[in-house]
C-alpha cells in the first residue's frame, strides 16, 4: 500500500524519508516539487499526483508536507487519513508537529513510523499501543536516561496490540479519578453584504479528558439527543446502544481523546451571536479606499462574547493602510496583505469600530471584489445549539470519580461577504 514517506518543508527540502518496501529514490519527489512550484499557495498543491511509475499522495499540515509514494491502487482517503494520523502522532508525542521537532527526534520518529506501518499497511496507529512500545520523551525521563543509560524504548511488550480494546492500556492507576467533558460547538456561517445569513450550521465535538483507574465503563446521556442530526464516534463507542437508546456507552481511552463529533439538525435556525456592519469601498478615480467595520452582539443568550477577532485578506494591490480602532488593536502584514483586528470582549454599550483609509498602488485598477471578513469569537458556558449533557454513569469500578462538563461556543468558518 504505502511504499514510502517523505517529509518536506515549505522550501522544498526533504528532511526525512522512510521506506516500508523497496527503496524508492527521492528523485520521485521532483514531480511533487514541480507541482508545488506551480501552486500559489501550499494548499493549492493537488493532493494526488500521477507520475509515470508512482502515485504521490500528500497532505499539507502544520507547514509541512507529508508525501507518500504509492505504487498500486489504494483508496486515496486511506492514505490521507493515515498521513494525518502520523502528524497527530508527532503532535501527541512531542507537543507540536514542526520541522525542528522532527529533526530533534529523528530516530524516535523513524522508529514510530516503523511501528505504524508494516509493509505499507497500518499496524499500530493507536497512540496508546505506540506509547507502550516507544515512550514519549519527558524532561524527567531524559535526565534519567542520560544518567543511567537506559532509553525510551519500552522493555515491556506491547500487550495493547493483543487486546480487543486496543485504545486502552491495562492496569491504569490514578489517585484522583476524574472525567471531564468539553462540549465545543462551532458556528459555520456565510453572511452576505446586508448581513443576511446565506448559510449557517453548527458543528459540535465532545472532547474528553478521562483519567480513571482500571477498566471503567462509562455511559453519557444527553437531555436532548434529538438535536443531533449526524454523529461520528471514537471507535470505543458502542454503535448499537446509540442506535437504540441514544446514549454514549464506552470504555474510554486513557487521557485526552475526541469522543464524538456531531452536526446539529440543519432545520433548526442557527442563532448568530454577532452582527457585523461593514463598508469597504474603493474610489474609481484616485488610488484610495475606505474601510469601516463595526461588530456588535446579537443573540448571545445573556453571555459575553469574547475573543472576537476579524481577519481580512486585503487585495494584492493595497499599498498601505491607515486605520484606527476604538477597541483592541490591529496588525497588518504588508507581505501577505493580512489584516487582523483583535477586539477581545464585546461590550454592548460601546461597539468596537475600525475605520480608516486604504491606499492602493499607483495606477493599479480598483479591485473588483471586496475582501471578505473572517470572524473569530468565543462564548464560554454556552452551547449555542442548546445541547445539554444529562448525566454520566460509571460501571465496572468501585470508586467515585470527579465529573465535569464544560460548554464552549466558537466561530468555525464564519465568513462575512462584503
Amino acid at each position: 500500500m504505502i511504499n514510502s514517506l517523505f517529509l518536506i518543508n515549505p522550501s522544498g527540502e526533504i528532511f526525512l524519508e522512510k521506506h516500508w518496501k523497496s527503496v524508492v529514490s527521492r528523485s520521485v519527489c521532483d514531480y511533487f516539487l514541480e507541482a508545488k512550484e506551480k501552486a500559489l499557495e501550499p494548499e493549492d498543491v493537488p493532493p494526488v499526483i500521477h507520475t509515470p511509475h508512482h502515485y504521490l499522495i500528500s497532505i499539507y499540515r502544520d507547514k509541512l508536507f507529508f508525501l507518500s509514494v504509492i505504487q498500486t491502487e489504494v483508496p486515496p482517503l486511506f492514505v490521507i487519513e493515515f498521513l494525518h494520523r502520523v502528524a497527530e502522532m508527532i503532535q501527541d508525542y512531542f507537543g507540536e508537529c514542526s520541522e525542528t521537532v522532527v529533526k530533534d527526534h529523528m530516530v524516535m520518529v523513524y522508529e514510530l513510523l516503523e511501528e505504524m506501518l508494516d509493509n505499507g499497511f497500518p499496524l499500530a496507529t493507536e497512540s496508546n499501543v505506540l506509547k507502550e512500545m516507544i515512550r514519549p520523551p519527558t524532561i524527567l525521563r531524559s535526565v534519567v536516561n542520560t544518567l543511567t543509560g537506559t532509553s525510551n524504548v519500552g522493555d515491556t511488550l506491547p500487550t495493547g496490540q493483543l487486546s480487543t480494546i486496543p485504545w486502552r492500556r491495562a492496569g491504569v492507576r490514578y489517585t484522583n479519578n476524574e472525567a471531564y467533558f468539553d462540549v465545543v460547538e462551532e458556528i459555520d456561517a456565510i453572511l452576505d453584504q446586508s448581513g443576511t445569513t446565506v448559510f449557517a450550521e453548527i458543528q459540535g465535538v465532545v472532547e474528553a479528558c478521562v483519567k480513571l483507574s482500571g477498566m471503567p465503563d462509562l455511559t453519557l446521556s444527553f437531555m436532548n439527543p434529538r438535536l443531533l442530526d449526524d454523529v461520528s464516534f471514537h471507535p470505543c463507542v458502542r454503535y448499537k446502544l446509540w442506535e437504540s437508546e441514544r446514549v454514549l456507552s464506552f470504555i474510554p481511552p486513557d487521557g485526552n481523546f475526541t469522543l464524538m463529533t456531531y452536526h446539529v439538525n440543519a432545520q433548526n435556525l442557527v442563532a448568530i451571536p454577532v452582527y457585523v456592519k461593514q463598508s469597504i469601498s474603493f474610489f474609481e478615480c484616485g488610488s484610495d479606499g475606505r474601510l469601516d467595520v463595526t461588530v456588535g452582539p446579537k443573540q448571545t443568550m445573556g453571555k459575553t462574547v469574547e475573543g472576537v477577532m476579524v481577519t481580512v485578506h486585503l487585495p494584492k494591490t493595497i499599498l498601505s493602510i491607515n486605520l484606527t480602532a476604538t477597541q483592541g488593536s490591529y496588525t497588518y502584514d504588508n507581505g501577505t496583505k493580512l489584516l487582523v483586528w483583535d477586539i477581545g470582549k464585546l461590550n454592548p454599550q460601546k461597539l468596537p469600530n475600525l475605520r480608516g483609509s486604504l491606499s492602493l498602488q499607483a495606477g493599479a485598477p480598483k479591485p473588483e471584489e471586496n475582501p471578505s471578513l473572517n470572524i473569530d469569537l468565543k462564548i464560554q458556558q454556552l452551547a449555542i445549539s442548546g445541547l445539554k449533557v444529562n448525566r454520566l454513569d460509571m460501571f465496572g469500578e468501585k470508586y467515585k470519580p470527579f465529573k465535569g462538563v464544560k460548554y464552549i461556543t466558537k466561530a468555525g468558518k464564519f465568513q462575512v461577504r462584503t
Binding site: S22, P75, V107, V153, I190, F199, D229, E369
Partner: protein
C-alpha cells in the same frame, strides 16, 4: 583505532574530524575519506562491549538512514549486533537490516538464524516480531524459509502471530510471485480465522495476492460481515472494498426492476404489462412487443427479494458511516452507492457532507466522489446544497470541485439561488475560479431551458468586465450557448462584434470571428466591416485568429460576394505568404474551393454547403459523467484512469449465482450419503486427519485446497455453536482449543458426539417435514444429526458441518429478526428422510475405521514391530522388481506396503467434486517410468448417481523444473465404484504443490498435490560405517540437531522407528547401540543423501540429528520428524 588514524592521515584533514556530520554533501570533495573516518568510529562503537555506545552508534546510523544518507558500508558491523541483548539496540538493528538487507544479501543471511530462533520463542510477541523482520528482509534466497515460517505462523495459537503471518504474505509474494499457489493456501486458511485481529490483514493479503479468487470468500462472507464492526479501522476499509466487489458478483441488482422500468417507458409499462391499451401509442408494434417481454421478465422476477446475505452486508456496514475515519466512511458510502437499492442510498449523503468539514485533502477526495454521485443521484445531495457553497478561503481546487457539485445539483427549483451564488463568485479575485464559474453558468444554461436567457444576459454583461480572462471565457461560453438558438440573439452577436476592438485573448477573438462568420446572415451589415478591420491587423494576429479570419472571409464571400470579394482576396493573399504553413495551406485550399476558376473542380459547387452547413450545438457536460464505472473512492476513480492493481468492479450478474455457496455444504451432501460405500468412508475419514489437526493449530503443508475450505467450515462451526448460547459452550470451546493429535481422535469423536447429543436434547426437533428440498437449512441439519442420537457412536465431518450450519443460522436468526419469515418458510420445506438408513450404515463403518486408526498409532508392539521391517523389505523388493511392476501399480501398494502406514490426503472433496471424491497417497513405490518421480496413488470414488466419464488431468501448472507423468485416462467410472491409478510427479526436491486440473466429461476441478517433505526421498541401504562416513561429510551447515522429549508412548526403539518411517520414506540403518536409531535415504530428484539419527537418553530425552546437503529439506524434515515423535 590504528586503522582510523591511518585513514585520518591519508585524508590529510580535509574535513572536520570529531563530529559525525550527517549533512555532509556526498558530492563535495574529501567525502570519501571523511566517510571512512566517520564510519570508522561508528564501527568501533558498535564493536564495543558497552550497550550505551552501541546504542549511540545505532542512533546515529538510523538518523543517517532517516535523512536518506547511505549507511550501507556499515552492514557487517551492524549485523553482528542482531543478537544483542539490549532491546533498543536490537530494534534499531532490525530497522537497519530491513533497510539494507536487499543490498547486502549475503551478509544478511548471517542474521537469519536469530530470527529462526525467535520464531520458536514461547512469547507470542517475540515470535511475531521475528516473523515481521524476517519477512521484511527482501532476500530471495530465504524464500523457502519465509514460506515455512509463514505457514507455521498461520496456525499459531496466538492471533497476533497469525496477523503478522497475514502481513508477511504480500511481502513474500512481492519477493517471489512463484509462491502464489502456496500463499493462496495460507490465505485460505487465515480467511477462516475467526478473530477480528486477523480479518483485516488477511483480506489485505487476499487483495494483493489473489483478488481474482473471489470463491475463497464464500465460506467466510457471513463471518466477515458480522465481524466487520469490531475490526480495526484500516481493516474495515479493505474488507468493505473487497466485499463490494464480492457482492457485485454474487447478488442481483437491487435496482434491476427500476432500471428495466425506466427503459421500458416508466411504470405504466409494468402495470400494463398484460394490457396493451396502457402502453404508449406512439411506439410501434415491435417496441411494444419488446416491452411486453421485458415487462413479463419483470413479472417473472418479481417480487425481487434481496438475498439475505446482501441485506446482511448493507445492515452491518451502515453503522460504520459514523466512523471517525474518513476512509471508512468513504468505503461504506461507495458500498451503498454501488450495492444498495435506490431508496436506501440517501443515508450516505449526510456522512459525506460531514467529511467536508475535515482537512482540505479529505474534502478534495470526497468532493470528487460527490461530484460523480451527484450526476447519478442528484436528489441525494439536494438537501445539502448549501454545504457546497464556496468560501473565499477555500483552496482553488476545492472551489472548482464545489462548483462542479453545485452545477450538477442545479434544477428548475433551485437554479435561482445557485445563480445568485454564482454572481458572488464571479467577483472573486481568483481568476481560475471565475473562469470555472462562467463555464458552470454555461452548463446550467444548457441544462435548464428556463434560465437560458438570464444566463446569457448575465454573461453578456461580463463581456464588459475589465479582466480579459473573464471576458474571454464568457465569449467562449456564449458562443456555445448561441449555437443553440442563434436567430434570437443577433443583438448579442452585434455586441460581441464591437468587442473585437478591445479583446486581446486569442481564443476569445477567434470565437467571436467564428460566431460572426457562422451567423453572418443575421448581421449582414456588421460582418463585412469586422472583416475589414481584421484584414488590417491580420499580420499581427495569433494563428488561431488568422485561421478564423480566413474562415470569416470565405463565409462572407459565399453569402455576400459583392461587398467582400476584394477583401477576401486581400486576406487570402496575406495568408498565402504567412509564416505558418497551416495558414498557407488553408488559404490555398479555400481559394480553390470558393473562387471559381476554369480549373476549379466539382467541389466548388458545394462550397456553400461545405462552409455553411448547420453545425450541431456542443454538448456541455460534466467531466465527472460516467466516472462511476470506476469503483468510487478508489485511486483510479480520482485519476479517471486505471491505476495499477485496480480490480474492476464487475457488473451485476444476470441471474444470481447459487447463494448456497456461502452456507456450509449440507445440501449437497444429501445424495452423497446414500451412495457411499464402506471403503470410501474409511478413506474419507483418513483424509480428514490433516484437516482436524490443521484447524487446531498445527501447520499443515499437506492439505489440498479442498480440505482447507473444510477447515473453514470446521472452525466456523466452533464459533457458531459458541454463539448459539447453548449450555455446552464450555465443552465446545474446550474441544476447539484442544490440539487434536492423532491419538486423541477417537476420544474427541466421542466428545463431539456428546455435544451433538446435548444440543439435540435441548432442542426438540419437529418431525413433521417430509419433502426433500433444495434449501440448506437449520431443521434439515438437525434432522440429519438426529438419528445419530439413537445409535450411540458416531463421528464424522458431516457432523461437524451440520452442527455449524445449524448454529450459524441460529445465530443469524437471533440477530436478524427481519429474516425470520424467510427462515420459517425454509424450515417448513426442509426435511430429509432418505438420509436415515445410510447414516446408520455409515456409523458402523466409522467405528470400525476409527479403531483401525487407533491401532495404527498406538505403540502396541505387534504392528510397530512389523511395520518398519515390512516397509524396508517392500522397498528393496520393489526396487528389485522394478521392471516387472509396469502395469500392476494399482495392486502393488495394497499387497506389499501395509496400508496403515500410508497417509491419505484429499484431493477433491465429494461435495466440491459433485459426487466425485478423489484422494491420494504417496505409495512409496519407485515410479517405474521415471525413477526421479514420486509415485502418487490416486483413488477416484464416484458417489454420485450417474457415472463419471473420461477422467483425466489437464493443464498442469508447475513450478519451474517440476514434471508430471499423467495417469492414463479413466474412461468410465460407474456410480458407486472406486478405481485407483498411479501418477508420477517430479517435485524437484521441493514441497511446492503441483497444481493441475482434474477433468471429467462435464466439469473441471482445480486441484493441487503437495508432498510432505518426507515423501520426497526414497530409502537406501547403508552399513553403519558408510553411514558414519557420510555423516562426517555432512557437518556444519548441513547438520541440524534438535533436542526433544519423547512422549511416554513413544519411548522405545520400535516406536521411534515406526514414527520416523511414517514421517519420512527412509530405511533403517543397522546400529550397534540400542540407544540410537539411524535412517538413511536420498532425495528422489537429485539423489542427495538424507541421514537421520535419533539418540535416546533416559527419561524420554532424545536428540534428533538430520544431515542433508539441502538445508531446506533438512529443516523441514526435522520439523516433521519432531512432530511425529513428540505427539
Amino acid at each position: 583505532m590504528s586503522a582510523s588514524s591511518a585513514f585520518n592521515d591519508e585524508k590529510g584533514g580535509s574535513s572536520n574530524v570529531g563530529e559525525p556530520e550527517y549533512g555532509h554533501d556526498p558530492a563535495s570533495g574529501g567525502i570519501f575519506s571523511s566517510d571512512y573516518k566517520r564510519h570508522d568510529d561508528l564501527k568501533e562503537m558498535l564493536d564495543s562491549n558497552k550497550d550505551s555506545l552501541k546504542l549511540e552508534a545505532m542512533k546515529r546510523i538510523v538518523a543517517m538512514i532517516a535523512r536518506g544518507k547511505n549507511a550501507s558500508d556499515l552492514f557487517p558491523a551492524v549485523v553482528k549486533n542482531v543478537a544483542c541483548k539490549n532491546i533498543e539496540v536490537k530494534k534499531l538493528v532490525y530497522v537497519y537490516l530491513v533497510r539494507y538487507a536487499e543490498e547486502q544479501q549475503d551478509l544478511a543471511l548471517l542474521s537469519i538464524s536469530t530470527f529462526q530462533r525467535g520464531l520458536k520463542d514461547p512469547n507470542q510477541l517475540i515470535r511475531a516480531s521475528a516473523l515481521r523482520v524476517l519477512s521484511s528482509i527482501r532476500v530471495t534466497i530465504i524464500v523457502p524459509i519465509m514460506m515455512l515460517a509463514i505457514k507455521e505462523a498461520a496456525s499459531d495459537m496466538s492471533p497476533y502471530v497469525r496477523k503478522t503471518a497475514a502481513h508477511a504474505i504480500p511481502k513474500l509474494y512481492s519477493l517471489d510471485p512463484e509462491q502464489k499457489d502456496c500463499l493462496i493456501e495460507v490465505i485460505e486458511k487465515l480467511l477462516a480465522d475467526k478473530t477480528t485481529l486477523v480479518a483485516g490483514s488477511v483480506v489485505m493479503a487476499f487483495e494483493e495476492v489473489c483478488p481474482e479468487r473471489i470463491d475463497l470468500i464464500h465460506k467466510n462472507y457471513r463471518k466477515l460481515c458480522n465481524l466487520l464492526i469490531d475490526v480495526e479501522e484500516w481493516g474495515q476499509v479493505v474488507i468493505i472494498n473487497m466485499l463490494t466487489r464480492y457482492a457485485r458478483t454474487q447478488f442481483l441488482n437491487p435496482n434491476m426492476n427500476e432500471s428495466l422500468l425506466e427503459e421500458g417507458g416508466g411504470e405504466k409499462a409494468f402495470y400494463g404489462s398484460d394490457n396493451d391499451d396502457d402502453t404508449d401509442d406512439e411506439e410501434d408494434k415491435e417496441e411494444k412487443e419488446k416491452k411486453k417481454t421485458e415487462a413479463t421478465a419483470i413479472v417473472k422476477r418479481k417480487p425481487y427479494v434481496m438475498d439475505p446475505d446482501h441485506r446482511l452486508l448493507l445492515r452491518n456496514t451502515k453503522p460504520l458511516l459514523q466512523s471517525r475515519n474518513a476512509a471508512v466512511v468513504m468505503a461504506v458510502a461507495q458500498l451503498y452507492f454501488h450495492l444498495a437499492p435506490k431508496a436506501e442510498v440517501g443515508v450516505i449523503a449526510k456522512a459525506l457532507v460531514r467529511l467536508m468539514r475535515s482537512h482540505s485533502e479529505v474534502q478534495y477526495v470526497v468532493l470528487q466522489n460527490v461530484a460523480t454521485m451527484s450526476i447519478k443521484r442528484r436528489g441525494m445531495f439536494e438537501p445539502y446544497l448549501k454545504s457546497f457553497y464556496i468560501r473565499s478561503t477555500d483552496p482553488t481546487q476545492i472551489k472548482v470541485l464545489k462548483l462542479e457539485v453545485l452545477t450538477n445539483l442545479a434544477n428548475e427549483t433551485n437554479i435561482s439561488t445557485i445563480l445568485r451564488e454564482f454572481q458572488t463568485y464571479i467577483k472573486s479575485n481568483d481568476k481560475d475560479f471565475v473562469a470555472a464559474t462562467i463555464q458552470a453558468i454555461g452548463r446550467c444554461a444548457t441544462n435548464i431551458g428556463e434560465v437560458r436567457d438570464t444566463c446569457l444576459n448575465g454573461l453578456v454583461q461580463l463581456l464588459s468586465n475589465r479582466d480579459e480572462l473573464v471576458v474571454a471565457e464568457s465569449v467562449v461560453v456564449i458562443k456555445k450557448l448561441l449555437q443553440m438558438q442563434p436567430e434570437q440573439h443577433s443583438d448579442i452577436i452585434k455586441h460581441m462584434a464591437k468587442l473585437t476592438d478591445n479583446i486581446q485573448v486569442p481564443m476569445a477573438r477567434a470565437s467571436i470571428l467564428w460566431l460572426i462568420g457562422e451567423y453572418c446572415e443575421h448581421v449582414p451589415k456588421i460582418a463585412p466591416d469586422v472583416l475589414r478591420k481584421m484584414a488590417k491587423t491580420f499580420t499581427n494576429e495569433e494563428d488561431i485568429v488568422k485561421l478564423q479570419i480566413i474562415n470569416l472571409a470565405a463565409k462572407l464571400y459565399l453569402t455576400n460576394s459583392k461587398q467582400t470579394k476584394l477583401l477576401t482576396q486581400y486576406v487570402l493573399n496575406l495568408a498565402k505568404y504567412d509564416q505558418n504553413y497551416d495558414i498557407r495551406d488553408r488559404a490555398r485550399f479555400i481559394r480553390q474551393l470558393i473562387v471559381p476558376t476554369d480549373k476549379s473542380g466539382a467541389l466548388s459547387k458545394y462550397a456553400k454547403k461545405l462552409f455553411l452547413a448547420l453545425k450541431p450545438a456542443p454538448v456541455l457536460e460534466s467531466p465527472f459523467k460516467d466516472r462511476d464505472h470506476f469503483q468510487l473512492g478508489s485511486l483510479s476513480h480520482l485519476l479517471n484512469a486505471k491505476a495499477g492493481g485496480y480490480q474492476v468492479l464487475p457488473d451485476w450478474p444476470e441471474a444470481a449465482p447459487d447463494p448456497s455457496v456461502r452456507n456450509v455444504e449440507v445440501k449437497e451432501s444429501v445424495p452423497e450419503w446414500t451412495k457411499c460405500s464402506s471403503r470410501e468412508k474409511r478413506k474419507e475419514k483418513k483424509a480428514d486427519k490433516p484437516f482436524y489437526s490443521d484447524s487446531e493449530g498445527e501447520s499443515g503443508p499437506t492439505e489440498s485446497a479442498d480440505s482447507a475450505s473444510d477447515t473453514a467450515s470446521g472452525s466456523e462451526s466452533g464459533s457458531g455453536s459458541e454463539e448459539s448460547g447453548s449450555g455446552s459452550e464450555s465443552e465446545e470451546s474446550n474441544e476447539e482449543s484442544e490440539s487434536a493429535s492423532e491419538e486423541d481422535e477417537e476420544e474427541e469423536g466421542k466428545k463431539k458426539k456428546k455435544n451433538v447429543e446435548k444440543i439435540k436434547a435441548r432442542k426438540p426437533v419437529p418431525e413433521s417435514e417430509s419433502e426433500p428440498s433444495s434449501g440448506e437449512d437449520v431443521k434439515k441439519s438437525e434432522k440429519k444429526s438426529k438419528p445419530r442420537i439413537g445409535s450411540s457412536e458416531s463421528e464424522s465431518e458431516e457432523d461437524d458441518d451440520s452442527e455449524s450450519e445449524s448454529s450459524e443460522s441460529e445465530e443469524e436468526e437471533s440477530e436478524e429478526e427481519s429474516e425470520e419469515e424467510t427462515k420459517k418458510k425454509k424450515k417448513t420445506t426442509a426435511s430429509k428422510p432418505p438420509s436415515k438408513p445410510p447414516k446408520k450404515e455409515n456409523k458402523k463403518e466409522k467405528k470400525e475405521m476409527s479403531l483401525l486408526d487407533f491401532d495404527d498409532f498406538d505403540p502396541a508392539p505387534s504392528p510397530s514391530q512389523v511395520t518398519p521391517l515390512n516397509n524396508f523389505l517392500s522397498s528393496s523388493l520393489v526396487t528389485d522388481l522394478e521392471g516387472l511392476s509396469l502395469t500392476d501399480n494399482v495392486l502393488s501398494p495394497t499387497t506389499i506396503v501395509p496400508s496403515g502406514n500410508l497417509k491419505t490426503y484429499e484431493l477433491l472433496h465429494r461435495i466440491t467434486g459433485e459426487g466425485l471424491s478423489v484422494e491420494y497417497c504417496f505409495s512409496r513405490q519407485p515410479f517405474s517410468p521415471d525413477p526421479h518421480m514420486v509415485a502418487v496413488k490416486i483413488q477416484f470414488t464416484n458417489s454420485a448417481t450417474s457415472e463419471a466419464k473420461s477422467l483425466h488431468m489437464e493443464d498442469a501448472k508447475l513450478q519451474s523444473g517440476m514434471r508430471i507423468k499423467e495417469f492414463p485416462e479413466i474412461e468410465v467410472l460407474p456410480a458407486g465404484e472406486t478405481v485407483s491409478v498411479v501418477m508420477g510427479i517430479d517435485f524437484c526436491d521441493s514441497t511446492q504443490a503441483a497444481n493441475f486440473q482434474l477433468c471429467t466429461h462435464t466439469r473441471k476441478f482445480f486441484v493441487s498435490i503437495q508432498p510432505p517433505v518426507g515423501e520426497l526421498m526414497m530409502p537406501i541401504f547403508m552399513t553403519e560405517n558408510e553411514f558414519k562416513k557420510e555423516q562426517g561429510q555432512l557437518m556444519g551447515m548441513n547438520e541440524i540437531t534438535e533436542k526433544l522429549t519423547l512422549e511416554e508412548k513413544c519411548q522405545g526403539e520400535h516406536a521411534v522407528v515406526q514414527r520416523v518411517t511414517t514421517a519420512a520414506n527412509l530405511s533403517r540403518v543397522p546400529c550397534g547401540s540400542d540407544k540410537e536409531c539411524r535412517f538413511a535415504g536420498k532425495t528422489v530428484t537429485s539423489g542427495s543423501l538424507v541421514l537421520v539419527s535419533v539418540v535416546t537418553k533416559e527419561d524420554g530425552a532424545a536428540q534428533l540429528t538430520v544431515n542433508c546437503e539441502k538445508m531446506v529439506i533438512g529443516t523441514m524434515l526435522v520439523k516433521d520428524i519432531l512432530q511425529a515423535l513428540t505427539q
